[in-house]
Structures are given as structure tokens and as C-alpha cells.
């Protein structure tokens, strides 16, 4: 005797958090049942495997029906078919849009296109995240991207409004969208040590300071693209390294201030010009799309790696960067103080965040 049909419908939709997690993680019903059995639930409840199978199927069916609504979370709030308490709705949405660190590092900065979607197989094998889950996460990225891509207003705010995500998650999505839109390279081997958190941190600062939205809150795409004018202006910074006197002056100012304060003072003194050249050149090249994409590669190559090879402690890096940016204000011949600050404040924080093993 087999059950052809087996359903349970509650007036309040039953949501089992554990099964929801298994479903999100992309396990098949039978795998999920296996995992649940291993969790010892049968012993706890005295249920049989058949009961567990039926229960799992039922939850999967419910989630499958809810998935359509989860694609546009405001619909989940207004729909009438599933009566779900608000706290549960929030949980459903938040978990549905949550993503795996391993996965997001793989696709961060990649174009959210069909091409990438085809690579999900490889990503799945590489990260150990099931293909199903990869697809969901990828589709979430893409869906959010499409909705907010051309919207006015704060990127994270828009995401939060249209997808009802928590503040934290909305900001993460803002980073994902920002990276995808600017196609920053994050996959190179030397960047592997960076976590999503590091990159999201940088993205948030860049959105705050380097996008059109930073100066004008009423422009299209305000938070998604970098401010073209700003990038153009950054060329002006070149004088800091091109003008030999200015460079020497800058160096002496920094060295005077930091003498005795850095454990790596000699190394700093020796490397100052290289480092400064590196940071200023990165700025001046950002008009080229290609160089924008390589921003993080350049930062690592031109600044982080040299420092790391000389074994700078983080605190010394901090002292150096503070002094390095501050000293520019004392350079009388340099007129672009505001531009410098807009560039350097963000960069300094990014570099500090990225400076770890």
C-alpha cells in the first residue's frame, strides 16, 4: 500500500526551520530525510522514517509554493494564500536571501549573466555548495541586481525596500550589486585571502564616497556606478609623484612625523616613494575600465604586498597611512586637497581592512 497523495495544510502555514535550511541548502527529499534521521529526531520524537519522509515532502512542497512569492518578498506579505506570522515571514525571506561565503567569493565581481550561470557547476564542485543552492543564490543576486540596477536613491535602501531584507543583509547585497556592476576582479589567486566581509566593507565605503550619490542624491544609478567626474579628476593627483619636489617634501613630512614611532621606519623610508607612486598611480588610472576592474589587484600588488614582505605591523600601516594622507594638507603647492581626501579616506580604510594574512 502506497500513499499516492499525502498532504497537510494548516490554517497557519507550518514552517520547520531545520527543514527549511535543508531545502535552501539544496538537498533532495531523500537526502534531507537521511540528514534528519542522523540528527536523532526519530529518537527524540518516537516517529518512524515514514512519518519523517511524509513530513519532509510536505515541507518541501510548501517551500516550493512559497518560492514564487519569495522572489518578490512584498508579495509574500500581501498574499492571502499562506497565513504566516510576520516574524516567520521575515525569517523565510532573510534565510532565502542569505548566501554562502564560499559561493559569493566565487561570483563576486563577475557578470551576472547566463555565462556565469553555466559555470555554477564548477563553482558547486569547488565550494561544496550544492548546485541547487548555487543556483538560488545566483538567481537572488541577479534578481536583486535587475531590480535595483537603475533605481534612484540609496542602493542598500532600495534593496531593503524591495526585498524586505535586514539592514546587514541589504548592505551585503549592495556590495554584491556594486561589485557585479563594476566588475571588480576578486578571483585572482593573490586576492583569495580577502573575505567577502573585507570586500563588502570596501564596497560600502566606495558607494559612500566614490559614486555620484556621494555628492548628489538625486541622480540615476547614483550608488551603482563610480562617479565618472571624480575618476577624471583623480588624474590631478599625479602631480604628487610626478613633481619631484612635492614628492620629496611629502616624504620628509611623513618621515619627520613618524620617526621613532614605527618599528619599520627604515623600510618605510626606503619604500616611501614606491608606495606613494603606487597609490597615486592607481588613482590616476581609474578612468580606464580595465584598471577599475583591477583596483583590488593593484592595491594588493602595489601596497599590501610590499608592506607585508617587510613585515609591517598593522598598527604601523595605520600610522603610516594616516600621516601619509594628512601630510598632503601641508604641501603648499598642492591644490586638490578635497579630491585627495575623497580618494584617500576611502582608500585608507580599505587598505587597513585588507591588510591581513
Amino acid at each position: 500500500m502506497t500513499n499516492e497523495l499525502d498532504i497537510f495544510v494548516g490554517n497557519t502555514t507550518l514552517i520547520d526551520e531545520d527543514v527549511y535550511r535543508l531545502w535552501l541548502d539544496g538537498y533532495s527529499v531523500s537526502d534531507a530525510v537521511g540528514l534528519r534521521v542522523r540528527s536523532g529526531i526519530l529518537e527524540q520524537t518516537g516517529a518512524t522514517a515514514g512519518v519523517l519522509q511524509s513530513d519532509t515532502m510536505d515541507h518541501y512542497r510548501t517551500f516550493h509554493m512559497l518560492e514564487r512569492l519569495l522572489h518578490t518578498p512584498p508579495k509574500l506579505l500581501h498574499q492571502l494564500v499562506f497565513q504566516i506570522p510576520p516574524s516567520r515571514q521575515a525569517l523565510l525571506i532573510e534565510r532565502y536571501y542569505a548566501f554562502d561565503e564560499a559561493f559569493v567569493r566565487e561570483v563576486l565581481g563577475k557578470k551576472l549573466s547566463k555565462g556565469t550561470k553555466k559555470d555554477l557547476d564548477d563553482i558547486s564542485t569547488k565550494t561544496g555548495v550544492t548546485l541547487k543552492s548555487c543556483r538560488r543564490q545566483f538567481d537572488n543576486f541577479k534578481r536583486v541586481f535587475k531590480v535595483v540596477e537603475e533605481m534612484r536613491g540609496s542602493l542598500a535602501g532600495n534593496i531593503q525596500q524591495h526585498f524586505l531584507l535586514s539592514d546587514r543583509l541589504a548592505r551585503d547585497y549592495a556590495a554584491v550589486v556594486f561589485f557585479a556592476n563594476n566588475r571588480f576582479e576578486t578571483g585572482k589567486k593573490k586576492l583569495q585571502y580577502l573575505t567577502f566581509g573585507d570586500l563588502a566593507f570596501c564596497a560600502e565605503l566606495m558607494i559612500q564616497n566614490w559614486t555620484p550619490g556621494a555628492v548628489d542624491s538625486q541622480v540615476d544609478d547614483m550608488d551603482v556606478d563610480l562617479d565618472k567626474e571624480f575618476l577624471q579628476d583623480l588624474k590631478e593627483l599625479k602631480v604628487l609623484v610626478a613633481d619631484k619636489d612635492l614628492l620629496d617634501l611629502h616624504k620628509s613630512l611623513v618621515c619627520t612625523a613618524l620617526r621613532g614611532k614605527l618599528s619599520v621606519f627604515p623600510e618605510m623610508e626606503a619604500n616611501f616613494k614606491n608606495l606613494s607612486r603606487g597609490l597615486v598611480n592607481i588613482a590616476s588610472k581609474l578612468t580606464h575600465t580595465k584598471d577599475v576592474r583591477d583596483l583590488f589587484v593593484d592595491l594588493v600588488e602595489k601596497f599590501i604586498e610590499p608592506c607585508r614582505s617587510d613585515r609591517w605591523p598593522l598598527n604601523d600601516v595605520r600610522l603610516f597611512l594616516n600621516q601619509y594622507s594628512a601630510s598632503v594638507h601641508s604641501l603648499d603647492g598642492f591644490r586638490h586637497q578635497a579630491l585627495w581626501d575623497r580618494y584617500m579616506v576611502t582608500l585608507r580604510s580599505c587598505l587597513l581592512r585588507m591588510y591581513h594574512d
Binding site: T2, L5, I7, F8, V51, D55, R61, T62, H78, P86
Partner: protein, 1082 residues
Amino acid sequence: MPGKLKVKIVAGRHLPVMDRASDLTDAFVEVKFGNMTFKTDVYHKSLNPQWNSEWFKFEVDDEDLQDEPLQITVLDHDTYSANDAIGKVYIDIDPLLYSEAATVISGWFPIYDTIHGIRGEINVVVKVDLFNDLNRFRQSSCGVKFFCTTSIPKCYRAVIIHGFVEELVVNEDPEYQWIDRIRTPRASNEARQRLISLMSGELQRKIGLKVLEMRGNAVVGYLQCFDLEGESGLVVRAIGTACTLDKLSSTAAFLPACNSPSKEMKEIPFNEDPNPNTHSSGPSTPLKNQTYSFSPSKSYSRQSSSSDTDLSLTPKTGMGSGSAGKEGGPFKALLRQQTQSALEQREFPFFTLTAFPPGFLVHVGGVVSARSVKLLDRIHNPDEPETRDAWWAEIRQEIKSHAKALGCHAVVGYSESTSICEEVCILSASGTAAVLNPRFLQDGTVEGCLEQRLSWQPGFFSIGSEKGEVDFFPQSQDSSSLLGQEENLPAGCGFCHIPYDELNMPFPAHLTYCYSCRKQKVPDVLFTTIDLPTDATVIGKGCLIQARLCRLKKKAQAEANATAISNLLPFMEYEVHTQLMNKLKLKGMNALFGLRIQITVGENMLMGLASATGVYLTALPTPGGIQIAGKTPNDGSYEQHISHMQKKINDTIAKNKELYEINPPEIPEEIIGSPIPEPRQRSRLLRSQSESSDEVIELDLSHGKKDAFVLEIDDTDAMEDVHSLLTDVPPPSGFYSCNTEIMPGINNWTSEIQMFTSVRVSRLSNINLTNQTLNKNFNDLCENLLKSLYFKLRSMIPCCLCHVNFTVSLPEDELIQVTVTAVAITFDKHQAVQTTKTHVEKSLQRASTDNEELLQFPLELCTDSLGPHPFSPAKEHLESASSNSGIPAAQRATSIDYSSFADRCNSWIELIKLKAQTIRRGSIKTTVSVEKASPLTEGHFRQRSAPACANSTVGVVKMTPLSFIPGAKITKYLGIINMFFIRETTSLREEGGVSGFLHAFIAEVFAMVRAHVAALGGNAVVSYIMKQCVFMENPNKNQAQCLINVSGDAVIFVRESELEIMSTQQPIASCQPACGGGEIAT
């Protein structure tokens, strides 16, 4: 009474994309009522159109208003081709037709399509203006209220319970008309939905007319069913109990001038009134009605003899003088005859109610049921459905005669059902034979009854439980001695006492003296179809007991088939019975409530499923164990096996007793008295005709041990039976289940509820099925289903599954479909432990879980258990005075109530003041909550409550099959919900197979019910029932179809937690009126 129906279409949202090119929709709406149609403008290119239409006005007869549903169709405008329908909304405007219910229907309704399901929502506002017109020959019955609830609805009081109403209408099923061959499935489904909607409207109107004829104003326990007879047609039939209800509000209760709807009551001439001054004045008449609300019915039964006497309150005839009352015994027969004849004047003295106002039920005889097998033929003339009518009349007649055989004049907890397979139909009816207190019944015709008091058993009263009332109506003889007696007398045993004559018993029965009062005789087991009376005393908790049975049957045609089925039925009933009895004993219990036996007919088998709630009634004797007797005692190993089994059974009984906390006090034998010697015979079922049975069976205990129940194992079948007995596993700890409204033994419900429907369809795999394998399969199916439910709801522990309702159908040859609807309610375990068993508290809690329907004052008063009431002396005095003068007690009660009315009011207010102080001391209360609790300010409060529940984004609508919501108070009934839906698919696989299809459909049905309730301004459906869930599939064609019929009562409830009641008391409903007092006093 013509009326004007006004409809406004406001907006739509989440519409489906109808134009692939633009990914948008050009939607407009057609509003249709009767033959009139209006259209809105087309709202171009939007999935969230804002029509904001004008008011569409329909001027119509009220007859049409009752019959016709409002049809709203949403379409996609197409310039070049036909407009595509997006979906429809049917709105039953009946709730707008009576004054007390909803005044407007306004809200978001799911747009439903029979092929695609829900496709977006539409916001609609509907109003009705009724013009008064007192046409005597009217065909409409606007204003008659309908309730699915099978008890007196919470905020009403029953003035009179008139009795049984029934009606049926037939039509051709559109699915079987010739035109169905050329129209689309959608058109066919819609024709069917529309027709059924129309038919149920018509049915309700016709029933309403009957109610008006009886001078009632409401139908309670309304049960409407569809019989899909296929080729031969479509039958919609309904039964219910006509009542005159009075809205409970203190204004009505206090002011004589207020319009009491109980017209009938006023018309009763109290010719015989011994206290003329109380009735002489005009204004006193309404007061007389009111006295019924004060006078707890208990007083009647207390003073009456508890056994066979029927009391009637219609002292119209000359017989009514009280002198006859003292004559006792010899007079009994005559009296019974007379009261019976009063009830017999009703064609069918049936009541669909399962719970009653206190005192209504005097005795319960047992379950009566009747079945008959019919061959369906085409209904030739739909306007005169005589055959169907005749069939039911026949069955009802049989039920009536069974009841009479049990010495009962009425049948309560009555219900009817059918099972159809091809052209064979089994009609079933069942109920509980009972003796009722006629105080609530009213006879419009010739009354042959007299007011009677038989005082041959002073001090014994049957249904008194609330302590407060003792003070209200002290015994006429000697109130102090009575009180003394009451202390050690567990009350609430009266209904268990046998109504039939013990010398002339309708069947062999084993009688003992009642274990509670030791005065009257009781059977050793009691089966009923009703809920446990609120005042019954039980020990421990109850549990769900099911008997499951399959019988194979040869495939046959027409008459041969019907004969085969008829022949099988008695055996099935017998076996179902034996199973029930065995399982009951195994649980260590002695009574079944809410018994429902369903027999389902299929192509090649019959299925029987009986569900009931077992309890241990203190009044009935302790059930003996089960003893196994082998047929071949010589065989050693066999013997061993038997003894092993015996041990297992004994262990199970012991375990169950512990589990359900059944620990009756040991009563010394001599007090109980020896059992009445009865001629013992082999246990068997009494069966008046082949297709019916009286279910009060008495199983013989003649194996020497008088209290052991003997199972003989004489063949493998019996072996199987015993095994199957033991396979039922009890629910996991923390879980209880019952199929009645209230779980006996649990009364501290917390507010979390979860209503659910679960459906399973199983395919029987093997070809060579035997009865045994079939039984086992069916048993496993049900057991596994229950196990699944326990598992799914484990997060609610400790909780109880209430009103567990199983339905079995056999949609195809090898398919068994089981549908379960129930509600899981959480309760507080700690309080349960603390629950003391004192009489007063118990009754309090009961009353709280039940309702305060009838007794406003008594309940209030008893909640504070102050002991003697301030005004009791006066009453006692009066009472004794009247008893001296030999006035029949009923009249006495009336007069007392009247004369002490002012007095009572005063004392009541005194009491209230007292309480108000308690409140102030006990807890900080907001003004709102005090107001809410006050019955005086109800109108006021309603306005407040509405926005309160509209706060949340999508308002939560609770659904429950129970008549109440734990931890909440129902403040208003908004009207009946009765909906019928068809869903069909031609892409079954794409929709997730049969499970996906049905899961989505049931979720959608819930959603539509909730939306309708919300639009009426309600926040819950009570007495919700899924009456039909007919599922058909054809996986080969990738098709499936399902029909669902649901109903319930839309209500507004208010959480009691918002009322924050007296800290000293448990948070029980009965405290509320007392809290209300706070406002009066301040």
C-alpha cells in the same frame, strides 16, 4: 421586502500577466447579480488596476437576495479577440440580510479560476439596503440567522428551541448535461459552482421560511450537504435546529421595555398562574421571559424526579395544577405519555445540537442509528423531489421509533449523511436518544402537557452543578439538608440515568445504581453522539477512540449490488461496535461521546470508520478488564500464548489508566449496592431492522467474573482482532486527542490554535485482497496519519487535538482517501496539575470553557464562590412559601424571579461593587478592558474592537472546528460561511502531481474563507467544517479535479488577555461579566 444591493469595485492587485507582449494586463470587471450586469472601465496596462468604480446598484427582491450570489468576474480586455476571463469571486450576501450581523462587506477577495486557482486579488465593497415590508405571503426569509455551531452561540441565549428543520432541493448536475460535451471544463465547473451556490441559497431561504413558520428566528447546528449523484442529479440538503435566540446583552436583560424578540414567549398565556399579581401587569411579560435567563434550568431538574418524568411548561390546559405533583410513581406513566405526546406532535423531535443549555438534557438513552441502501434513479421533476424526501422521511421515522424503544422522546446530536458509489447510495442517520427538559421547547399546537413535579426523590437532582444556583433555588423541602447532601454528591450524573423502564428493557442490559447518587440506575457503558455535557463529572482525561473496518464485496450491478450491501451492513455495524467496546475497555473508560460512524461504499468494498471520545464517567461503574478465553484449552502452547496475550492486555489497560489519569476512588461494594440481577444473554446487538441498530448494546459478562469482558479466541480472525486492538499506539506524551469540542479533563487552554486539514490517498497494491489485509492496511493508514499529525504539531506540546474529524471515501477501485480536519490547541500543563477536583471549581472551569450562553447571573455569581449569596434568604423564604402552597416549581421559579427582581438587581450591584474593588486591588486595568468586559457597553465596544483587529498588515483570521476560541470571547456573529469550489487541472505533473495540486487547492480554499471573513469584518471562523472533499484523478491524462465544500460561522472575537482579569482567579471566561461590573460600579 425588496432591497437595493450596491457594489463598488475599488482596485485589483497581483493580477496575472495576460498580455505576453507587454507583460501587463488590461483588466476590467463585470458585476453580475441575477440577470443584471454592470461593467467597469478597462484599466489599461497594469497588474494593479485602480478602478474606483461608481456604486453599481441592483434593485432586487429579497428572495433573489437570498438565493443569488453576487458574481464578480475579472477579465482582460482584448481589442481583437474575445476577452479572456482572469477569474471570479462569488460573494454570498446573506450576512448582510439580518440586522445584527455584518453591515458591509469590504475587502480583498482572491480572484479564483477553476483551472488556474487564485490569480490576484480584488477589492470590493458591498452594501444592502433593505426596505421593510410585512408581506405575509412572502417567499423570503430574510432575517433568520444561520449558525453552523451545534450549540447555542456564545453571545445568544436560547429562549425556545423549536426543533428540527430540514429541506432538500435537487437539480440536474451540469457536469452531466449534454451541453457539457461541447463546453470547456472551465465553463462546466463554473456552471456547477454557480448552480450549487444558487441551490444552497434557495435551500437556506426555504429553511428560513420553515423557521419563521415555527416562529423562530434562527437555525442552529445548520448542516448542509451535497450529494453528487452523478447521472441522476445533484441533491443539496440541509438539516438544522430552529430556535428563538435572544442576544445576550444586559440592556435586554434589565429593561422590561426593551424589545425582546421572543414573541412566542409573550404569547404564552399563563392562565394557570397561581400568583396572579406577578403576571397581571402588562410590562411584566417581557420580564417573564427574562426570568428564564436567570433561572438556571437546573432548578427544574433538581426538583423533578430524575428519571422518566418530562416536564413541560405550557400550562395551557386545565391539568396544570400542582396537586398532582405529589402523587409520584403512579402518575409517572401518564405524565410521560402526555409529555411524549407533546413532542410527538412534532414530526421529528430531533435536534442537531450536540451541546445544550444546562438542564436541557435530562437523560440519555444511547445512540440510535438507521441506514438504508437505495438505488439512484434520475430525478425527473426537480421541483418535486419526492423520492429523496421520502427516503429521508423513512429513515427519520425509523430513528424516531428507535428512540421511543429506548424510552426517549427526542433525539439529540442528530446528523445525516450519504455515501454514493455509482448508482448505489447508503443513507445514514444517527443521533442520541434523549429525554429533554421541555422548558426550552415550545409547542405551537395543542398542548397536552402539564406542569409537573414529582417529589419522590427529594434531594436528588440530575443536572445541578453550579453551586451558586443552589442558593438561588433552594429545595422546597429543606434547603439546608439539600445543601448538605450536595456537598457529598457529585452532581451531573442525571443524564446517565436510564430513561427506559428497567423491567421492560429494550435490550438486555447490565444496570447498576449510579455511582454518583446511588439512587438511579445506570448502564455500565454509555454511547452518545453528543458532546460531553458541561456538568458531567469525569475522572482523568478523555481520548480519541476509533474503530476501523473494511469488508470486501463482490462487484455487482444495481439491485444485486444493493442487496449485497444491505446484507453486509449489519455485520459491519456489529464489528464496529465490538471494536469500539473493546478499545473502550482497553482504555479503562466507560463512555463514548461524539460517536460518529461512517460507512462508505466503494466498487468492491465497504469501509466503516467510527470515531468517538472515550471518557470515564464517575456515574457509571468501573469497567472490568478484558478476559481472553481460548477455545481449545488442552493445547499447552496455545494456553501459554493466550496467557501471554492476557498479560499484554492487562498491561495495556494498566498503562492506559495511568496515561489518562483514571484513578476512580475505591467505593466499597456495599455502598454501591449489588448489581441488579438481570437475565444475562449472549452479548449482541439489538437491531430492529436489517439496516439499523440500536447502539446501546450490552455485552454479556456471564463468564463468572461479573466485571470482566470476555473475548473468545476461536479462530484466526479473533486473533487478528485482538492483535489489532493492541496495535493502536497512544499519542506521544504531551499530546491528547478527542473528537469532541472539549477534551474532558483539560480546561486550561492557552491561546495558540492550529486548524489543519490532512488528506491521504492510498492505493491498495495487491490483487488478492482479503478482509484481514484490507483491515490492516486501513488501520495502518489511519494510525500513520495520526502519527504524522503528532509529529508535525510537536512544537505545540503540550497540546490537544480537538474535534478530530475523519472522513473516508473510496474514489476508485483500489484507492482509499482519508481526510482529517482538526484543531490543535495548546494548554498549560502546570495548571492542569494543580487543578483541584473540587466540585465548584470544576463546574466553574467547565462553564468557562463552554460558555456563558444562558446564565448570565448565575455564572457571574458562582465565579466568586462567596458561599451563601446575600439574597438567598429572601428567595428561600419565597420558595418555601410557594412550596407550601403547592405551586408547581416552574411557576414558582418564575414568580420568585419576578418578585425578587429588584432585590436581585440590588444584590447584584452590591456584588459588582465588591468585585470592582477586587479588580482595583488585584491588577491595573485599562478603561478599555473594563469596557470590553461589560455587557452593557457592547455596542460601544464593538466599535473599538474593529480597528483593534485591523491593525496588522494582513489581518490574521483564525479558523477552528470548535464553537469557541480558547482564551478569547466571541463578541459578534457575522453570518454563515458556506462555500463551494471546484478546481481542475490538465497539467497535473507541472503542478506538482496530485499532492501539489490538492495542497495548493486546500490552501486556496482556506485563503478564500479567510478573505470572506475578513471582508465581513471578522477575525475568525468557528465551527468550521470541510463537508466534502471529492478528489478525482486521471494521471494518464495528466488531469485531476477536486470539489470542496466548507462552512462555518464568521465571528469577531476579542482576546481575554486584553482583558487582564482578576489575578486571584484562573483566566476563565466566566470572570468576564464580573470584571464588567467594574465599570458599572465606577
